[in-house]
């Protein structure tokens, strides 16, 4: 194991606690100290805090493997997937954790990314549009292997919301469809199964809440844990849609 952590270091966590549904609750940073163990991730650390120090601390994890997109948090200012964040990455042992802005706060570190993503998916009609009925007993439609790979690249978005939280535009303007939404449109634009034309996509995102609202801050590109080519695809969609007559 190449984890080079000194055993037994004391870590100080400063975590924002707030329950907006409890009138008595006031937002405040609460401090916890924990002894570091080898290979400790924030998934392990937060669970340890809940198991031993504060049973009332709320946060979301599902896969704890960086696959499901549940655990986006703002850690020392950076939006990250908590389950993939090692405590060893913080040499001074001080870790501040906040819930992601841009999303409805449920409690403490738990935010409602699901709700946001569902609204976004419905808004960009994130499904295949086609009138062709394919017979499922017959051979599948042939798809160029490269095109399939490219579509897959864009389909890898896990709806974690880190890009939304990093994007100043999305924070400033809650109606902005966001980088994940723009990527989603690019994904279906790419997919040969989807018969929508660029004019159809223009109807969905051809305004200042859509593609023309993006100010090219590129924080999305720099914080996406799946390394999606957001910069490239947003530019691509912009070129496509600005060319619409």
């Amino acid at each position: 194991m190449s984890n080079t952590i000194k055993k037994g270091r004391e870590l100080t966590f400063s975590i924002l606690k707030y329950n907006p549904r409890d009138p008595a609750s006031k937002p405040a940073f609460v401090e916890y100290t924990l002894t570091e163990t080898p290979g400790m991730t924030l998934f392990i650390a937060l669970n340890k805090i809940r198991d031993t120090l504060d049973a009332d601390l709320s946060f979301d994890f599902v896969c704890r493997a960086g696959i499901c997109g549940s655990c986006g948090m703002v850690i020392n200012g950076k939006p990250l997937l908590a389950c993939r964040t090692l405590t060893a990455d913080y040499p001074d042992g001080k870790i501040q954790i906040m819930p992601m802005p841009a999303f409805e706060l449920i409690k403490d570190l738990s935010v409602n990314t699901g709700k946001w993503m569902e609204a976004m998916s419905k808004r960009v009609e994130s499904w295949i549009h086609s009138n062709e009925k394919h017979d499922i007993t017959a051979l599948e439609e042939k798809i160029d292997p490269d095109l399939a790979d490219e579509t897959f690249e864009l389909d890898r978005c896990i709806e974690c919301g880190l890009c939304i939280t990093s994007c100043g535009t999305a924070l400033m303007r809650p109606n902005f469809v966001g980088p994940a939404g723009l990527n989603r449109v690019a994904r279906f634009q790419m997919d040969p199964h989807d018969k929508r034309t660029d004019a159809d996509f223009y109807e969905l995102i051809g305004d200042d809440d859509g593609i023309f609202g993006c100010m090219s801050l590129l924080a999305c590109e720099d914080h996406c844990p799946k390394h999606l080519p957001l910069q490239e695809k947003i530019a691509y969609m912009r070129r496509k849609l600005v060319a619409q007559r």
């Binding site: 802005p101 400033m172 109807e203 051809g206 590129l218 590109e221 490239e232 070129r239």
Partner: protein, 267 residues
Amino acid sequence: MRSLIEGYLGVTEEGRKSRLPAKLDWWQSATGLFLGLFMWGHMLFVSTILVSKDFMYTVTKMFEGSFIFGDAHSKPILVSITVFIVFVIFIVHAGLALRKFPSNYKQYSIMKTHTAALKHEDTKLWFIQAYTGFAMFFLGSVHLYVIMTSADKIGPYGSADRMVSDWMWPLYILLLLAVELHGSIGLYRLSVKWGWFDGKDAKATRKKLKKAKWAVTVFFLVLGFATLAAYIKIGLEHKANYGERYHPGTSQSLNQTTTYAIQGVLS
């Protein structure tokens, strides 16, 4: 009827979404690109003073149409017209860019907190761009108005006098900083916004563009300040002769003036 429907509903008469947002975005970039590239030319032009007064004079005259009308009958009005056109583009660009500004305090406060917390270079750059853009509303307008209305004064002495004796130098320092930061960031942003140089590896390209962007910023800032220094120097020297026009080949008189000026100061 068309505009009434589209204006209120954001939908064209064919029932499609208005194409206007696309056009506005395009025009914002087009005006930005024009201004950005124009400023490269502009900075090279004013910096001709670093070569020599004669050279600066010749180039100025050229812009006034000396190659057609001859040096003596050049027409400064041509410059005024050019400035007017640039002014219009400048205003259009500023108007379009306004769409991107925080539109209330809450938005501003979110953006400011976010920029400080995230420590993300491109986000910071945008903030700088917004700030400098805002500053240029005023700084740029003053400069353009002045140049437009007294284009005839442009020249080695006229410009220098304007800087020193007309107290334009503080404005120019600020404007220079603003426009160089704003312009180079803007051109970088344009490239990534439209994916012009993406090529095979957009991420690698972006890194290179970022380097180029900083190189351009530094280059033009150094050039600009050197130019500014040169004009200030001339302006100081020429203070006593405020209003005098430059005549090529007459640097002799300048030397004399300088001597007088210095003597004046010393005595």
